[in-house]
Amino acid sequence: MIVAERLVKEFRLAERKPGLLGSLSTLLTRRHRVVRAVDDVSFEIPAGTKTAYIGANGAGKSTTIKMLTGIMTPTSGRCTVAGLEPYRHRQRNARTIGVVFGQRSQLWWDLSVPDSFRILRRVYDIPEPVYRRNLDLFRELLDIDALGPTPVRQLSLGQRMRAEIAASLLHDPAVLFWDEPTIGLDMVLKDAVRHLVNRAHRELGTTVVLTSHDIADIGAICDSALVVDHGRVVHQGTLKDLLRTADHRSVVFDHRDGTAAGTVRARIEAGLPGVRATPDDGGRIRVDYPAGRYTSRQVLTFLLDHFDLADWYAPEPGLEDVLRKIYGRARVPGDTPDGAGRTPDGAA
């Protein structure tokens, strides 16, 4: 459905020096610096998948989305959405996609939400039954009627986002691009939004591309993940595969020995070098071990041999931990931009 082949986007930024004198000097000499926001990115998103497009701030997510929606033209490489190059066939592509940019409104500032929807209905030639069905759905799930005749500029962020989300779904698009769609929404509305997109996916087979810094959004909506870092793809696959790339596993246990927490910790860390044990307030102990060095069998055997276990469980590695690792690496000082260790399998 969506294909990117060696996609590159570079920006030319004017260098500005700080302070008044600096500003004056830029009047005379202006130097430009080329910033590569998207660096040779290739990926393929199959039809009917719900993909989380993940990356730290500045990883090139929004720029890629802007090329896929036809707003910007790549510096080199190409991408297609449903077989069309969006920046070449912008208007035709626009009919098949629905877009939410959390940061910018696409509604008409001076019009009410119902008026905006009437415009969209004409612009997209939405058939009457589809329009009715979708409006009913938005009424039920997003309480869109409550927005009433207020002009969009007077709506709160949460109210506006509800309208933006509804507007992106109004014409039954084949592909949804949602860039930070749930900012400003409370828990109930976030749930409603997740329900809405999952329903569109189930009933219409909509392909979804989501960028969000809300981990819960990703977990509740997406089945696949595309992780970019410094403008490069570092992981593509199912969300489960991504979780498996976690390099630490954990075991949490309770014991009946009566040994002091400090002693337990010392004994584990001495017996299994490289493992970290952290006692919690309730007397339970969390053991984090590097997945490459120990198997779960080794760790569990050690624990069973040395302690009288009352209870234990192994929590699934959290998406948050996996992502923190990826995001954290983006900020390591001295990190070379030549991509060493950042090849697609480098993350695994």
Binding site: F11, K66, G70, R90, Q91, R104, Q106, D115, R122, V123
Partner: protein, 269 residues
């Protein structure tokens, strides 16, 4: 073709809807236009007061009054807000979200400006014209000239749209579009013949003004309204020149817009 154009009609109706929220704006525009017209009209009437019959440029005192008043009203019709809105959307990057819609941005802008022009004509132009008709004697046009004027005014609106769109598109190059707009306003006011009729300009300057597109915005419609042409071919010539410039500028807008989009850089958000 009509099906495609129908897609744009909601932009015209919604433009009117949002416009009507700012009613006091029309009162302000009317007052500004009336004040501007009063200054030029009474100044020029003083110039022509000493000359009975036809004065400089072959204008009677009624002719020059009509010329300046209608020129002022045409200027109001040409204030379609396209220049500042496009400029603002371009440099703020809001143009990006407009591009996710399956419509052409310039065509959408054109339809959105139509109600602005219409509302200005009805709520500002006609009242100001009526007010001055009560105060000073005006030249009554011949019916045929009135018809020619109407066609010519429609073309002048199209010209003004193109000029303002091009002005707004400078937002791709500079953030100081305010300065560009000021320059445009002065150039248009001068070369369109809104400040000084082309007939009163020194030879070389008038010759230059006559080949520029701005002429079709004020001088063209008023040449026809006041019957200051020499036979039908001359009158048709005015319209043809306007139409040619309108077509030329539309093509230029389309080409530049396409080129600008290819280089569009929207950072952040």
């Amino acid at each position: 073709m009509t099906a495609r154009l129908r897609r744009y009609t909601p932009f015209a109706t919604s433009g009117l809807q949002s416009l009507l929220q700012y009613r006091s704006m029309f009162a302000m525009t009317a007052m500004t236009a009336a004040a501007g017209a009063a200054v030029t009209v009474f100044l020029w009437r003083a110039v022509y007061a000493g000359t009975p019959g036809r004065g400089p440029g072959g204008f009677t005192v009624e002719d020059i009054t009509t010329y300046l008043l209608v020129a002022q009203i045409l200027q109001v019709l040409h204030t379609n807000r396209v220049d500042d809105e496009v400029a603002a959307e371009v440099y703020r990057g809001d143009v990006a979200v407009m591009l996710v819609r399956p419509v052409s941005y310039p065509v959408m802008r054109f339809f959105a400006c139509l109600p602005v022009v219409g509302a200005n004509a009805v709520l500002v132009g006609l009242p100001v014209l009526g007010l001055f008709a009560l105060l000073v004697p005006l030249t009554a046009p011949r019916p045929a000239d009135l018809l020619l004027f109407t066609v010519s005014t429609a073309l002048s609106v199209l010209l003004a749209f193109c000029v303002n769109l091009l002005t707004g598109m400078t937002g791709f190059l500079t953030t100081n579009t305010w300065g560009v707009r000021m320059v445009k306003q002065s150039v248009v006011a001068f070369f369109a013949g809104q400040l000084v009729p082309l007939a009163l300009m020194p030879g070389p300057l008038a010759a230059l003004a006559k080949v520029l597109p701005f002429r079709g915005m004020v001088d063209g419609p008023l040449t026809l309204l006041l019957g200051r042409y020499d036979g039908w071919t001359d009158a048709a010539g005015v319209l043809v020149q306007q139409a040619a410039w309108a077509a030329g500028l539309s093509l230029l807008c389309a080409a530049l817009w396409r080129a600008a989009l290819g280089r569009l850089e929207v950072l952040g958000g």
